[in-house]
């Protein structure tokens, strides 16, 4: 191959990589730039914030109850993760390590539930939540989010749990350990990385949820971040406070991006396990 052709190839590959990077990162970059603009500067296209201003970041907490929304999201997502993991650990142990009749249909059922459209349970769930007195309460959201986090955590933990060595379990059983002891004292410590991955994925799913949070809450006391951002309005009906919305968007997105970058490798393997390796 001639030298020129090699260079042409290299350059076009470089262009491709640059194009992919710009495409994936530009919307986030633009949100950051927009959030740092004030007043009329927001409505002029400037590629770089010439005079960065933090006004929007202050205003989103003073003019909007965004602090409350953030707290709600943190409380809901954390409680969803904790409850799902506690329930999923023993369930995954049973499914991964014990052979019993009805196990395969059960697993298919759990996989099926993870594919439920949320809209199909919306009216029934609404009734249930009102009957339990959980309407407009954070615990109502925690309960309803089990619909998608629980099947997912059970499925992924089962995949991880199956890969643990058989010998460990056998040795413990010879020593007289019950299934409970094997699950909690032998396997659980080994599963810590899997728990972190699964928990993080469940956290992200709960943090992002919109339909239930929109339907089962009434006012700011229980609104989560996505609902607050979707419904954020300005002084008049015709004015969208874009500066505030962009600041809020950057605030909720940045921690997620940092988490995802830190746990990149394990997230990828967790996503694969969740989607069932093809």
């Amino acid at each position: 191959m001639s030298q020129a052709l090699v260079w042409l190839k290299r350059i076009s590959f470089g262009v491709l990589v640059t194009a992919i990077t710009v495409y994936t990162l530009f919307p986030y970059y633009w949100a950051v730039v927009s959030s740092l603009k004030e007043g009329s500067a927001l409505f002029q296209v400037q590629w770089w914030p010439t005079k960065p201003a933090w006004h929007n970041y202050v205003a989103v907490f003073t003019e909007q109850p965004f602090g409350r929304n953030l707290l709600n999201s943190v409380l809901v997502a954390s409680s969803v993760v904790i409850v799902s993991l506690i329930l999923a650990i023993t369930a995954a142990f049973a499914l991964a390590r014990i052979r019993f009749r009805g196990r395969v249909p059960l697993m298919l059922m759990i996989l099926g539930v993870s594919m439920f459209p949320q809209i199909a349970v919306l009216s029934g769930m609404f009734e249930l939540i009102r009957a339990l007195g959980l309407y407009n309460k954070l615990s109502g959201l925690t309960l309803s989010y089990m619909l998608f986090t629980l099947p997912f955590t059970v499925w992924v933990l089962t995949t991880f749990m199956r890969e643990l060595p058989k010998e460990l379990e056998e040795a413990a059983v010879v020593d007289g350990a019950t299934p409970w002891v094997v699950c909690m004292h032998v396997f659980l410590p080994l599963l810590r990385p899997a728990l972190v991955t699964t928990g993080l994925l469940a956290f992200i799913a709960a943090w992002n949820e919109f339909l239930f949070a929109l339907t089962f809450t009434l006012d700011q006391s229980a609104r989560t971040v996505p609902v607050a951002i979707a419904l954020m309005s300005g002084a008049s009906q015709y004015e969208s406070p874009w500066g505030l919305i962009m600041a809020a968007s950057v605030i909720v997105t940045t921690p997620l991006i940092v988490l995802v970058l830190i746990f990149q490798r394990s997230i990828v393997s967790g996503l694969m396990a969740g989607a069932v390796k093809g």
Binding site: F13, V17, I20, T24, L25, P27, Y28, W30, A31, S34, L87, T90, A91, A94, L95, I98, F100, R101, L106, M107, L108, I110, V113, F116, P117, I119, A120, L122, S123, G124, L128, L143, M146, L147, L150, T158, T159, T178, P179, F210, L214, T215, V225, P226, V227, I229, A230, W242, I245, M246, V252, L256, I257, V260, Q264, V268, A275, V276, K277, G278
Partner: protein
């Protein structure tokens, strides 16, 4: 003796999860099916009465419903196709060795991590008719002569919705395809290279047939997700009846018009559609699902 003890332990271990799933999935689903056959209404305090198939007739005769079906299918078809093509290009890029591969791999995960509502807002701002950066760019290069109202015009809002979805979910497709690509044996490519086969030919004759299975699974997975789309339509199109998805239609009937019965009927139809795709998914992916389960 020990075996029976273990089986009993298994059921005890599963009990809490099964109870919660029955409560948040089984029971609400059953109630939705039941509401679909009643005149349940959020505005009335009367107990709902059985009305047979009436709600389904109402839904079937509503042009707005059919428009939402058309929108949902159009959205699903176009966005999953684009995501597959784009995901393939990015996966092939990431599969070759180059400096900065780790950085790019991390970068493509960023859109996936951003909540859908936030992505919708970010793009809604970029696509703003008066102040949007996308109109500004298109004007600058001369592709358009005046700003376009992307999210207001129902035809264009579909373009906007698809653009956001493609941006947000291509990373997931990329990851699944990349995993499939990395499992392919190197020897095949060595042989092809020795034969002097053109890369495009290698892709269509070797790579594509080999990763067809995983690719199909990824596509069905995305289709399942796209059919139940709610957030993007709700946030980007200010709820006009011209541009609704099936899920948005069902929710509007239930909560804005308070007609729980009609909304439940629409939700039941959508559930049937998704159940169909779930079964296809399990059949296509039969080997690995059973393997996972067994």
């Amino acid at each position: 003796m020990l075996a029976r003890q273990r089986v009993r332990a298994a059921w005890l271990f599963l009990l809490p999860t099964l109870v919660v799933l029955a409560g948040v999935a089984g029971w609400p689903l059953f109630r939705t099916f039941w509401f679909a056959f009643t005149n349940a209404n959020l505005g009335s305090s009367e107990p709902p009465e059985f009305v047979g198939l009436e709600n389904f007739v109402v839904v079937m005769e509503d042009p707005d419903w059919w428009r939402s079906v058309r929108n949902t299918f159009l959205f699903t078809g176009v966005s999953v196709t684009l995501e597959t093509a784009l995901g393939m290009i990015i996966a092939l890029t990431l599969n070759s060795r180059f400096r900065g591969r780790g950085v790019l791999r991390a970068a493509v995960l960023v859109p996936w991590a951003i909540p859908t509502v936030v992505s919708a807002k970010m793009w809604g701002w970029m696509l703003n008719d008066q102040y949007g950066v996308i109109n500004e760019m298109l004007l600058y290069v001369g592709l358009i002569s005046e700003p376009i109202a992307w999210t207001v015009d129902p035809n264009l809002s579909m373009v906007a919705i698809i653009a956001v979805d493609v941006w947000k979910t291509t990373p997931f497709m990329t990851l699944l395809l990349l995993a499939a690509l990395q499992m392919l044996p190197d020897e095949l490519y060595e042989a092809a290279r020795l034969d002097g086969a053109h890369p495009v030919l290698v892709f269509f004759q070797i790579t594509l047939p080999l990763i067809r299975g995983p690719m199909l699974v990824a596509i069905i997975f995305r289709v399942l997700d796209a059919l139940r789309v709610f957030d993007l339509f709700y946030v980007l199109t200010s709820n006009s009846s011209e541009s609704m998805s099936m899920a948005v239609y069902a929710r509007q009937q239930m909560f804005e018009f308070q007609d729980l019965g009609v909304g439940a009927a629409a939700a039941t139809l959508l559930f049937g559609l998704i159940a169909l795709f779930t079964i296809i998914y399990m059949l296509v992916n039969r080997n690995s699902v059973i393997q996972e389960a067994a």
